[in-house]
Amino acid sequence: MSFLVIQFLTGLSSSVSLFLTAAGLTVIFGVTRVVNFAHGSLFMLGAYIGWTILTRLPHDPVWFVAGIAATALAVAAIGAALETTLLRRLYHAPELFQLLATFGVMLVIQDATLLLWGPNDLPLPRASWLRGFVTILDSRFPLYDLVLIAIGPFVLVSLLLLLSRTRFGMLIRACTENRDMAAALGIDQRLLSTTIFALGAGLAGLGGALILPDTSANTQMDLSVIVEAFVVVVVGGMGSVGGAFLASLLIGELQAFGIVFFPHATLVLIFVIMAAVLTIRPNGLLGDIPLTAPNQTTRILFTRPSPTLFWLGGAVVALAAATPFWLPPYWLSVETEVLIAALFASGLHLMMGPGGMISFGHAAWFGIGAYASALSLKMLAAPMPLALLAAPVATGATAALFGWFVVRLSGVYLAMLTLAFAQIVWAVATQWTWLTGGDDGILGVWPSGPVPFFWWVLALTAIAIWLLQRVIRSPYGLALMAARDSEPRALSIGLQPERLRMVAFALSGAAAGLSGGLFAFKTGSVFPTYVAVGKSVDGLLMVLLGGIDTAIGPIVGAIAYTGLYDLLLQTVSLWRMALGLTIIALVLLFPDGLAGRWRRS
């Protein structure tokens, strides 16, 4: 009994910092409709700035509170600066661009943090009162955790009061519910957006600073927090502060009790709950923002592949087939990777371009394909061609099943759900050790030799990409684009957009799966890191670089991105910052789409 109470309280206290962060994310989304990927970085800055301030202050509680407050204000100021210099310019850009820009900001902040504070974890020395405890039912419980438990509801109530009782809150609600109406009524949205961004960032900073007595400031916290905060915001309902509170409680308790009952599967639990909630309540627990279709965009003509291009492509493939005869082995291996990347991007493009669905978790299919290949080789002793076949088959089937759940959603919700699914796959790959080998992965997935394998890759990617191009040109491809361009119109000429999208989802997944299978053989191994968020972002960047409204875009994008990435990697030590700045510059300089091809009315 006492144990259950203690565990319950522990779950409560560990949910608080997550709630603060997620509340910030959700109010920002409510007003600006920006999904702020850099929110985890603001949390991290809260921890680092808090460390810097608190280590310089006297150790009594009053100074601690002052230091935490100063940290929150400092991070709020950073948030305001971010909003006025960058995000303000992106409110009318497609959602994907906002996501990418904030992802770029995250990369920049990662390297900036490393530069400013160095690589080591920074633990905050705990003053004696922070080590205090109270005795609850014969068990000791940290005093500080009790303080945290009190802070959560306090912030919740303050936020709710702020939203419901003040003029500022009224304006916020007006904007959350109907931006256009609010604009028509002459509300100064710029000022409001800046303020709300500062508020959200301040909350994240507060969340980051408050964990310091328990956890050292470290450079990995941004990504782990942002993924959890996304889960909370989506589960709670985007834009809902109360929902964020409920969802973070749910997750805190889930972790506290999860480790008791499933000590090996703590990671999987969260994402399974998320998927369950969203299947039952697609808007989240308390979500009230309707799932509107993404902003209507007038698109320019989609450039479909012309027959000449096919001949040109054939010639390129023929030339490529000869490269093993003169290219040094390392460059042959780079070429192999580019081919695999091109297939990955082409699959993603089918879904994002003609399909009009943003995937933020395409790494899931890449990873499933890789595991499918490796496992059929290792467990079923399948020869390489069969193992490679297993990849698109397994992935296509899984993607079709998953697609069946998600094609009803659109825009950011769809993107978030794909992200959640990728995280589930990642967690399963990490924790289902007997099947996947856990973090150790599966080794010894080698092809017979690099040159024959290169030909395999060339042949398979060429055929798969050619098939994808045929699909885009086919009647099905036309119907898919129709469903994307105007759903009401597509419905009223007898098309079935959801089915069309589900098939696109499956095809796109199968292509990513095949590229994952090839990559498994390329690397001779499979690891959970194949499913990491970064892999999904790689794909998005390739597609956007190439231009979303042309069929050959993803191929060009894959080559350009792999080249850019390698170049940055080899020449700049702060390559994350360089990549982040490049992304931001691309998004800012081409607000209508990188290839100038995604125009808005």
């Binding site: 779950g11 008791v260 856990g438 973090d439 990697l569």
Partner: protein, 400 residues
């Protein structure tokens, strides 16, 4: 995550004066580690191998050739490790691969090197699989394995009166295999011991409060801790506040290493039985000389990582010298049984399983001037903590 950085030009020969002289081409060692992901260990480690390389080159190198280390950062992502290893072999034409920190990276490198028929010398990865289940002819490993660390600690643990044990370990190869061996070895010595609970936090994601409470709920007499780094700091803080460690024995792997002890600061728990490195307390000539040279160059006291980096290069030099040539068969023969010097004294690579006999220190933690330190320590020689040759042969099915 995305962090990956190629450390161009971190070659040790850069320190040498730029005298253009006809010289035989240097022996190239391709080194990969998770520099940006685990800086607290790998930066002292890099200092260590730089120091060793320069010392060896100052003495005239090996086989009349200088050593050149070409280093890469894989940021802890095993697929990048393999890609970079390919680059080192194919572009940089290195003769030997070395490095690794996490066990999974080590296993991946070993598999790659076997595939490409190249020698791989693992420094830090502790997985037993590296030399046993997945052991292969081309892989050698320097540090005491999880088995050896467990065996060293079990020796002390068996003396404790404790009967009810719980374990907490990161949920991946290193944690799993340490717990497995510790349980097996302790149960063999003390059949009266009961295992009453286990916790497997994901690496880097421990929910310390809940974990500590769950462990306490099992009412154990003793705890085996395998967490390290930031997880350890969180765990110790929650455990201290909640009184988890009071009136209980704790046995903890690697916690005595300066890299992990230092962040604990004045919260370092007293009386834990740990493996580690008591730095300047070790007054052997080898260790004092090493510390002096290290301090002179880097103005810091070396950590365990420094010892590993330093000894890794020393052992490679010894192996090459004994082999007399750089082709794979000669190298394997040369490394098998090669003896080398380390700050801890002389050690060797066993020809039986390619495991190094380098040992480590076993002692208890203590607080001194608000900092953690090791007391009552002794050096445990790696050679003394390995199963019989018969057992090892059966554990190592695939390799000669």
């Amino acid at each position: 995550m995305l962090s990956r950085r190629t450390l161009l030009g971190t070659t040790a020969v850069l320190a040498a004066p730029a005298i253009v002289r006809a010289q035989p081409a240097p022996i190239r060692i391709g080194e990969i580690n998770s520099y940006s992901a685990i800086p607290s260990f790998t930066l002292p480690y890099r200092n260590g191998w730089q120091l060793a390389t320069d010392e060896i080159n100052a003495r005239g190198g090996v086989l009349g050739r200088k050593l050149e280390v070409i280093s890469r950062d894989d940021a802890g992502k095993p697929q990048d490790t393999i890609r970079l290893a390919g680059e080192l072999l194919d572009e940089q034409k290195v003769d030997i691969l070395a490095g690794g920190y996490l066990s999974n990276v080590g296993l991946a490198l070993s598999d790659f090197a076997a595939q490409r028929k190249c020698l791989y010398v693992a420094g830090e990865p502790l997985s037993d699989a590296l030399v046993w289940e997945k052991g292969n002819r081309t892989c050698f490993r320097l540090r005491p394995s999880t088995y050896m660390q467990a065996a060293m600690l079990v020796e002390e643990a068996a003396k404790l009166p404790a009967k009810r044990w719980v374990t907490v370990a990161p949920n991946y190869e290193y944690g799993l295999s340490t717990v497995k061996w510790f349980k097996a070895l302790l149960s063999a010595k003390r059949p009266d011991v009961e295992w009453v609970g286990e916790q497997w936090p994901a690496l880097g994601k421990i929910d310390a409060g809940a974990t500590a409470a769950a462990l306490a709920e099992a009412k154990p007499d003793a705890i085996l801790n395998v967490t390290f780094g930031p997880d350890l700091t969180n765990f110790v803080r929650q455990g201290n506040t909640r009184g988890l460690f009071e009136n209980r024995s704790v046995v903890s792997v690697l916690t005595g290493e300066p890299e992990y002890l230092e962040p604990l600061g004045d919260e370092t728990p007293v009386g834990w039985i740990v493996t580690g490195y008591p730095q300047e307390q070790v007054t052997t000539k080898a260790n004092q000389a090493f510390i002096a040279a290290y301090k002179a160059r880097f103005e810091k006291v070396p950590g365990m990582g420094s010892v590993v980096g330093y000894t890794l290069i020393q052992s490679i030099a010894a192996g090459i010298a004994k082999a007399g040539a750089l082709d794979l068969d000669k190298l394997v023969d040369g490394f098998s049984g090669a003896t080398f010097d380390s700050p801890f004294g002389s050690a060797a690579y066993r020809s039986l399983d390619h495991q190094g006999t380098l040992g480590t220190f076993v002692g208890t933690t203590a607080l001194k001037d608000g900092k953690g330190t090791m007391v009552d320590w002794r050096y445990a020689n790696g050679a003394d903590y390995l199963p019989t040759d018969q057992v090892v042969k059966s554990l190592r099915p695939n390799a000669g």
